[in-house]
């Protein structure tokens, strides 16, 4: 069967277009792979921080450039006579094909063209030699594949080597810190009782003595109370009164003392309540040991009070402050999720002292400006975030010194002085508020710049923290750990 030159030409053209696509794709791949390789090398050896998104984009670019190059290459203009001449020269056909094309372009069917077609029909067509890839194209394709493989290798090795040294370079205490956090989280998941939680955290902290030390040190600067007793939740007594009075023993002693005074007042109802020198000495001693300034002031006021009626009121207030908050805190423990428990808590904390306790934990002062008992908020299981080391409410005076007492005539819904608490935030931050869990005693909170107008979330001042850590001579390598800790518990809010 004679060979049809038209089909032959089309076949050659198709093969050539495939090769053109391959060539273009090779070139495009070479460029993009080279770019990727350069980026990988720069990241690996120059320490250039390449965003993952950029790497992903480049990877997509590599694939897309190959495909697009192939498609565009196939559509490139082809000089058919030259293509046919190259085939002629490669096969030594005596330039029949390109001459046939010349005759075909002239138009018409001449016998000369038939003669050329006859000559073409006599030629054997070894297709492997008809349209061959040039050595240069093969080299480019190989180079681009090599660049791609190198980029992948360098990128992979780079990731390994950057991960491995980072794991090695992390100080042991930081690693231990992370482990402690994991352990704490696990413990929290297993046991959500605040006492057990704080004990677990404290245990973790104590097991990582060196680890916790810098943070405690830094927090000690932030807080007037020992950080170990706040951040890591040591004083997380379920009894708020005990917390107000310091440790459990102090609370019991104070409670006994107040009870004794009250009983004696009832026995001597005719003379009214009178304090003996022993009572005053005991009260002074207790006032010095209780951390709650409101309770402390109440106790000191009792010592100096001469009026029996006022003394009874102060005694009652002290007892309520000491015992009533414990009831509210216990109710907090029993209440379900915070969202649904807020209203219940308000109902439950019917007494003024309890209300003062709940609000005081957030606002720091009662509406009449009298110091209130610090609030202690316990978390339910659902509120415990695995990354939280402890969520302990604290009095505003202790909030890194940033919160201040609100003037009496200030509306309670606005921030108080330089304090960070906004009125709108109060509902969220109440004893059962959603955002309460983000609060941790000792964080150098700062209000948002536009706190007066915008209800912002809780946050911390990174600059203040850094200044503080520098002032405390905390090693620079540990700054980030502290910062990450605060970022974690504030959910990265500024």
């Amino acid at each position: 069967m004679p060979l049809d030159p038209v089909r032959l030409e089309q076949r050659i053209l198709r093969a050539h277009r495939r090769h053109l696509g391959f060539r273009t794709a090779s070139g495009a791949l070479a460029i993009s792979a080279g770019l990727l390789l350069a980026l990988a090398l720069a990241e690996r050896f120059l320490g250039l921080a390449v965003p993952r998104q950029l790497v992903l984009c480049l990877a997509v670019l590599v694939a897309a450039s190959g495909a697009l190059g192939f498609l565009l290459g196939r559509r490139r203009r082809v000089d058919i006579p030259r293509l046919l001449l190259s085939v002629d020269l490669a096969l030594g056909t005596g330039e029949r094909l390109c001459s046939w094309h010349e005759l075909r372009c002239r138009g018409g069917a001449s016998e000369l063209r038939c003669r050329v077609e006859d000559e073409i029909g006599k030629i054997e067509w070894p297709w492997r030699r008809v349209v061959r890839l040039r050595a240069r194209d093969v080299l480019i394709a190989g180079a681009s594949a090599l660049a791609l493989a190198l980029a992948l290798t360098v990128g992979t090795v780079g990731e390994r080597t950057t991960e491995a040294p980072s794991a090695r370079s992390v100080p042991a205490e930081e690693t231990g810190y992370e482990e402690a956090r994991v352990e704490i989280s696990k413990e929290r998941a297993a046991s959500f009782t605040p006492r057990e939680l704080s004990t677990g955290v404290a245990r973790a902290s104590s097991s990582e003595g060196e680890l916790a030390a810098p943070y405690e040190d830094a927090l000690a600067e932030i807080l007037p109370t020992p950080p170990s007793a706040t951040v890591f939740g040591e004083p997380s007594e379920t009894d708020a009164g005990a917390r107000s009075a310091g440790d459990a023993g102090t609370g019991e002693s104070l409670s006994d003392l107040l009870s004794r005074i009250a009983r004696r007042g009832q026995e001597n109802s005719g003379r009214g309540l009178q304090l003996t020198d022993e009572d005053k000495a005991a009260l002074r001693e207790m006032a010095e040991s209780v951390p709650d300034p409101r309770l402390r002031q109440l106790l000191l006021a009792m010592i100096d009070e001469q009026d029996a009626a006022k003394l009874e009121d102060q005694l009652e207030a002290s007892r309520r402050l000491l015992g009533g908050a414990g009831v509210a805190a216990a109710e907090d423990l029993e209440e379900p999720p915070l969202e649904s428990g807020r209203g219940d808590e308000e109902e439950a904390s019917g007494s003024e002292a309890e209300r003062a306790l709940a609000e005081g934990s957030l606002e720091g002062t009662s509406s009449d400006g009298v110091p209130e008992a610090p609030g202690q908020v316990a978390l339910s299981d659902a509120q415990i975030d695995s990354d939280d080391l402890g969520s302990v409410a604290f009095p505003p005076e202790e909030q890194g010194g940033t919160a201040s007492r609100r003037p009496d005539n200030d509306p309670p819904s606005r921030s108080s002085g330089a304090g960070f608490v906004l009125g709108e935030l109060l509902t969220e931050l109440g004893a059962s508020g959603d955002l309460r869990r983000f609060f941790t005693k000792g964080i150098p909170f700062e209000p948002p710049a536009d706190a007066a107008d915008v209800v912002g979330g809780p946050g911390f001042d990174g600059e203040a923290l850094r200044t503080l850590l520098v002032a405390r001579d905390l090693p620079t390598s540990r700054h980030d750990v502290v910062r990450v800790y605060f970022e974690t518990i504030t959910q990265g809010e500024p």
Binding site: S86, L89, R96, L112, E119
Partner: protein, 327 residues
């Protein structure tokens, strides 16, 4: 008459002509081929070689084989243009006298301009119009020459004494310039035997006529030549110019003027004729290669440095061919 027939008949004609010439001429296949190619192209041929190499005999044999009107002009220093183109002479006719044109030897189909470089440039230039325009103007009258018209000129190497180099315009009108070389030992022996035997040398009988030759010349132009090949020829011709980007370093160094556009015409047409002589239906690269040098060698003018250093134009062209590939 189909193209195929014309080509086949033309090829057959060239075969007959070659056979006829070969009866007289020993060897010199390249020269004969180029002579036949020039014949098929309707161009003029310049044969260069030292005396005694059979140039004149070749032309006479070819003219005899073609069966065309042949004339020979022996160029000498005292030859005048009128001796070539003819002149008006006073003649008496009936009752009066008048000037009548007496055609010169140029009025023939095949003109042998033997040792053309021995005449003065003025006389040499007498052939310009005839070669290019196929006409001769004497006085105020222009006379057409018969077709086909072919000038086959021979010249001794220009280095020889008593010669006048052909003007550039004159040289450019020759389609090809072929150098006739010495015969080989076997060829020379055969020449000696043919010329010294009892049978005297006899010119071949006519194997063609003017009509067949004109048909063959038309068939040559039908031979297809692919566009890339034509582009290659043009690129090569342009590369003979020193200021052309494709020019070789030798060309830049030794060439004063490159080949004229006639060179490209000569190469393309000569390649077609060469393909026809080879019985091919199309032009091949080797056809171009075969005619490239004869078509360009006399059209490239060396500069002083090239002439002083004895640079050969042929070697320049060979380098040009090697360095400029078709693809």
């Amino acid at each position: 008459m189909t193209h195929e027939t014309a080509i086949e008949r033309s090829h057959a004609l060239t075969q007959r002509l070659r056979g006829a010439v070969d009866e007289v001429i020993v060897g010199q296949e390249g020269v004969v081929t180029m002579a036949l190619a020039a014949l098929l192209c309707g161009g003029h041929l310049l044969l260069e070689g030292v005396p005694g190499l059979g140039k004149t005999l070749l032309v006479r044999s070819l003219a005899s084989a073609l069966g065309l009107r042949f004339s020979r002009i022996q160029f000498t220093p005292d030859l005048m243009p009128a001796d070539i183109v003819g002149t008006n002479i006073l003649s008496e006719d009936g009752g009066g006298r008048r000037f009548a044109f007496s055609p010169g030897p140029v009025f023939a189909n095949v003109v042998l301009a033997d040792e053309i470089n021995r005449a003065t440039p003025k006389t040499q230039s007498a052939l310009l119009e005839a070669m290019e325009e196929r006409t001769v103007t004497v006085g105020h009258v222009t006379h057409a020459l018969a077709a086909p018209f072919l000038v086959l000129a021979t010249q001794n190497p220009i280095e020889m004494e008593g010669t006048y180099p052909l003007p550039e315009a004159q040289v450019d009108r020759f389609l090809f310039k072929v150098t006739v070389g010495y015969p080989t030992e076997g060829e020379l022996l055969q020449i000696a035997e043919r010329t010294t035997e009892k049978t005297p040398l006899r010119l071949p009988d006519a194997v063609a006529d003017a009509e067949a030759l004109l048909a063959a010349q038309a068939a040559v132009r039908e031979i297809p030549m692919a566009r890339p090949l034509r582009e290659h020829v043009v690129r090569l011709v342009l590369a003979t110019h020193p200021d052309h980007p494709h020019a070789t370093q030798d060309v830049r160094s030794f060439v004063e003027y490159g080949a004229s556009p006639r060179a490209a015409i000569a190469a393309i047409l000569g390649a077609k004729a060469h393909a026809l002589l080879a019985g091919q239906p199309n032009v091949r690269l080797l056809d171009i290669e075969a005619v490239f040098r004869p078509a360009l060698v006399h059209r490239v003018v060396l500069n002083f440095r090239g002439a002083a250093e004895g640079v050969s134009v042929s070697s320049l062209l060979d380098g040009l061919w090697k360095e400029n590939r078709v693809l």
